[in-house]
């Protein structure tokens, strides 16, 4: 979307706050390359020890589903309540199940 070749591309930033947790999307920033994106992400998104690890992905590389397709896209899971444990009747007296 950049109008000028000297403009830095946009990167999406994901931070893992603690070992063992997911990397979570926190926002975006512009940077000339991945190294710079990581350094800038550290300065912008982890000033208060919020981070243990950083992922950056160039925004142009992210593909997403279309909001207007959401109904049909997610429809197949609407009628499969047997995928949830609460669907099943547990005989009285049975334990630890």
């Amino acid at each position: 979307m950049s109008e000028n070749p000297n403009n830095w591309p946009l990167w999406e930033v994901f931070i893992q706050s603690k070992r063992g947790l997911d990397h979570k999307h926190v926002g975006s920033l512009h940077a000339a390359d991945a190294d710079m994106a990581i350094e800038n992400a550290r300065d912008v998104y982890t000033r208060r020890q919020e981070g243990n690890s950083i992922w950056v992905v160039e925004s142009a590389h992210i593909h997403s589903s279309r909001p207007e397709d959401a109904d049909s896209l997610f429809d197949p899971s609407d009628d499969k309540i047997y995928r949830h444990p609460t669907f099943y009747t547990v005989p009285e007296g049975a334990k630890y199940i």
Binding site: N7, L10, G27, L29, V44, R47, S64, R66, E68
Partner: protein
């Protein structure tokens, strides 16, 4: 025509249902435009807001205060970035948004067109200006546009130290020598009314507010937020022995709020129109910084290209 109407109805229904709007959702053009204007103004305010405080970094009275002020100013830069990013999700380019600030086309909060004359002003800015901004920002944590709301949550977490450090500066000065106390009072006198103006025109003179509230971009009116700010701040001033420069200020036992005087809207309009004490200086400083940073932006691109080429070889 009916299709647009249906889309608008579904959009409003989603908002009424307290669901967030996300970047790729359909939204009315006016909603998008209002957000681009509001978020970019907000971002510009964070960035220009660094200037009056940056003025005191080299002259902070102790290393501790200097470190705190540096951290605060760095936060403001970060807040500007969170907001520019949120603005970009609406389909505007960063470059254009920044250009609009530099050319003077875009506005930023008028409060930053006032000068910081003494160290006490840094206290007053943190306590009053950040305090007033927080009122607005806490409300915006629940704004209907997802990326804006998320940026606000992040900002509010960081912002509370800003207000406290400012209040602490004022409290220390107010307990100091008579000259120091006078300096604190003088800063309060100069910053009080401009801080109240930060909430924007009165509800009666704010024609776009109703639509913003219907879209849940805003959730409280300018006057409501201003009143809460006054009620809280008067108590804080009393606690450190400073007085609010408003002869009409009086507790109203019936409304359980303070009654207070009249804002000088001529002054407000004048500063918004570009004639405040520091409008030209602020814009010149931003343009200078942007121009002097041009070679850095170009060098970074050249360096990234060189590294990529070396990696490919």
């Amino acid at each position: 025509m009916t299709e647009i109407k249906n889309l608008e109805e579904r959009f409003q229904a989603r908002i009424d249902d307290e669901q967030k709007i996300e970047p790729r959702d359909w939204m009315p053009d006016e909603y998008r435009k209002t957000l681009v204007r509001q978020i970019s103004q907000h971002a510009h305010s964070e960035v220009v807001g660094m200037l009056p405080e940056g003025n005191w970094i080299t002259r902070a009275p102790s290393l501790k205060r200097k470190a705190i002020l540096l951290a605060k100013v760095q936060d403001e830069a970060g807040h500007g970035l969170y907001l520019y990013s949120a603005c970009e999700t609406l389909g505007t380019s960063r470059e254009r948004t920044i250009d609009d600030l530099l050319s003077g086309k875009a506005k930023y909060s008028s409060i930053f067109n006032y000068p910081t004359l003494t160290w006490a002003d840094i206290g007053a800015v943190g306590w009053l200006v950040d305090g007033a901004a927080i009122m607005n920002q806490v409300m915006l944590c629940r704004t209907s546009y997802g990326p804006y709301a998320r940026a606000m949550v992040r900002i509010c977490k960081e912002e509370s130290f800003h207000q406290r450090q400012g209040y602490e500066i004022m409290a220390v000065l107010a307990k100091g020598s008579p000259e120091q106390k006078e300096m604190a009072q003088d800063a309060l006198n100069r910053w009080w009314w401009p801080s109240l103006m930060m909430f924007g025109p009165t509800d009666a003179n704010s024609p776009n507010s109703a639509q913003s509230i219907k879209w849940k971009i805003k959730r409280q009116s300018n006057d409501e937020l201003r009143q809460i700010f006054i009620d809280r701040t008067v108590q804080q001033a009393e606690a450190i022995g400073l007085s609010i420069p408003d002869p009409d200020l009086k507790w109203n036992d019936e409304t359980k709020h303070y009654d207070w005087g009249v804002i000088d809207w001529t002054e407000f309009n004048n500063v918004v129109a570009g004639n405040g004490p520091c409008n030209k200086e602020r814009l010149a400083a931003r343009n200078k910084a942007h121009a002097e940073g041009a070679w850095v932006r170009e060098a970074a691109v050249a360096y990234a290209a060189k590294k990529a080429k070396r990696k490919a070889a």
